[in-house]
Amino acid sequence: GTFGEYGGQYVPEALMPALQELEDAYERYVLDNEDGFMDEFRERMRDFGGRPTPLQRADRLSERYGREIYLKREDLLHGGAHKLNNALGQVLLAKYMGKERIIAETGAGQHGTATAMAAAHLEMPCEIYMGRTDINRQRPNVYRMRMNGAEVNPVTAGSGTLKEAINETMRDWATTVERTHYVIGSVVGPHPFPKLVREFQSVIGAEARKQVREQAGRLPDSVVACAGGGSNTMGSFHEFVPDESVALYAVEAGGSSLEIDTESGVAPNSATLSTGTDGVLHGAMTKLLQSREGQIVESHSVSAGLDYAGVGPELSHLVDTGRVTPANVDDDDALNGFHRLSELEGIIPALESSHALGYLEEYHDDLGDLVVVTVSGRGDKDLETVLEETEKRDLEAAPDVEVFDR
């Protein structure tokens, strides 16, 4: 249950039997394909989810950076982000385990919408916990969950964002654990979640690895992926980890500054891998944004989906062992990355993914001749945020949108 010193199962006793049950199910259904679980999962991801997603050569970025840039297009997955890989896998697993109800937390709403659509598809009752603040700033995603028949439970505690939603979902789970499965949305949480989620998400890298060899004739020199909790990162990297020639870059949200204000308990970033310290949060030992006393601080990023004070334990381990290079890109560079891909390639990326693109702009010289960048999701959900945040700044890559004045 650990990755070096990271991982583990730091949860209330009441949940331990459920984690054991889940570990058992993970081994039987996921690893051993019992009852054809993985066959059904792959078939549904193909027909319902739209896999495989393309690996696209980005012609204009390749020209701009003087090297071959390929984009792994998870934005084309049903729901608009890589999140469905995990959500569908876990909801299906819950079904195989005989669970009758699904709960999940969501921050920006991407995992919540993915879970809601997977639950609708598989006819599982579903409740999503979401912070009050997030509900109010991510209305379209709330609508989508409701349209898919999921309940959305507002969480008013604390700042009303992802961290509090996770806490509340754990509380629900501690109450209803016998018949309920908690679909954790990233490679975080207690064992076996980090492995389970990584397993479902590793299809990203597995496809990309095959595709890049077919299309470019060889393995890439580097793979770049954005990292919040790390499911897109681990999903993109996992199959490449044994390929020692492939450099792996996990790009976190640098926010507005890498400094933490421990007085107010706020980190204006979520660069956990770069700046975090070891501790226990949400069931696992991992790197965290915390005060010296051990209180978890509020992280911040222009991208709500990266806005989390923890990170997957496996990713912490891969960083400590030097296999993965942590990096971070601040809000401004991420916004420029958003505008650049939209304008040059006709792909509007999620703000999460825009961090990977911001890194590409700054450090392409270090990435070798053949680079794979994962576009973890599409940016339609981020349009309002991008407009607001762009307006506050003087960004080189931004178009004006003065079409509305009568």
Binding site: Y10, P12, E13, L258, T275, D278, L281, D320, P326
Partner: protein, 316 residues
């Protein structure tokens, strides 16, 4: 605080407090709610009212095992600026008949060494700016030793960690043993079979029997899970105290009658503190009288068990 000199029959103050005051009342409040000064007065009231053990919560920002009541208390305590250092200062300062335990989350224990370590002299506002390479060298390995050492020094008798199952408890178990402090484990309604055996073999002080699935919080009745858990545990010799949802004397009576050695009450007391707001005496009085009611209930339940002639107390 120094433990009472009148408890020679057990190596554990905690176990002694339960066995000798059987049926025992264990009370909980959050330290720093609404201030550490108030907490001092409240703990003294709990003690006066007849608590046999007192748990003090050291607030952590992510209290995943707590219901809304104790979450509220923790938030108030954090907003009041409660720190581990302040918490231990309070403990140093307290004199009670009842032994004291700390209830906190594992990360608070892990990081204590960190904040006490020499590198804490770096001002807090100078956060890690570090690029990746520096980050690793700056990293402190979190350890449990400093916390346990400080707890023992302050005279705490035990530690309860709601997010630390037996599987992850070895380092803390070892440190507690070194410093002669009890590590109380929680037994949930879902804890069964081999895991139950393993946990019961590691328990020291008492087994914290979780009355029902879910989080802490006052409830209107005693769950059937409580009865089931107590009967599942009846073969184990360790003292058993039941918490999660106990709010009235009658609950206490019923639980003791069902075979528990003690009852644990938290949210019902935190509610009283919350209702009174900041600043103390009326709240302290209300706490004291609530504790008396609960203790009476427990004793009533105890009488029913030992004296077969007594009429059954009403069940809900």
């Amino acid at each position: 605080m120094t433990p009472e000199p009148t408890a020679p029959a057990f190596d554990s103050d905690v176990e002694a407090a339960i066995r000798e005051n059987h049926p025992a009342l264990i009370t909980y409040i959050t330290a720093g709610d609404p201030s550490l000064e108030d907490t001092k007065a409240y703990v003294e009231a709990l003690d006066r009212g007849g608590s046999d053990l007192i748990e003090l919560g050291l607030p952590f920002s992510e209290p995943i095992a707590e219901g809304p009541t104790i979450q509220g208390a923790i938030n108030r305590a954090l907003e009041a600026g409660t720190t581990p250092a302040g918490f231990f200062d309070l403990i140093d300062d307290l004199e009670t008949d009842a032994p004291l335990l700390v209830m906190t989350y594992y990360n608070m224990i892990l990081q204590f060494g960190n904040s006490e370590a020499p590198c804490a002299s770096n001002s807090n506002s100078e956060a890690p700016r570090a690029s990746n390479s520096d980050a690793a060298s700056l990293r402190n390995e979190p350890t449990v030793g400093p916390f346990v050492e400080r707890a023992a020094e302050a005279g705490l008798s035990g530690i309860i960690v709601p997010d630390l199952p037996a599987e992850e408890a070895d380092p803390l178990r070892t440190a507690c043993d070194e410093h002669g402090i009890d590590l109380v484990f929680i037994v949930a309604p879902t804890t069964e079979g081999e895991r139950l055996d393993r946990i019961m073999s590691q328990v020291s002080g008492f087994a914290y029997v979780q009355a029902r699935l879910g989080t802490t919080g006052a409830r209107a009745n005693v769950s059937t899970a409580t009865h089931e858990s107590l009967s599942r545990l009846s073969d184990y010799d360790v003292p058993k105290a039941v918490g999660f949802g106990v709010s009235e004397g009658d609950h206490a009576a019923e639980i003791i009658e069902a075979g528990a050695d003690g009852v644990i009450v938290g949210s019902a007391l935190v509610d009283i503190i919350a209702d009174h707001g900041a600043g103390g005496a009326p709240a302290a009085d209300a706490l004291e009288s609530k504790v008396r009611e609960l203790k009476r209930g427990a004793v009533r339940g105890g009488d029913a068990t030992t004296d077969e002639e007594q009429p059954e107390p009403e069940h809900p």
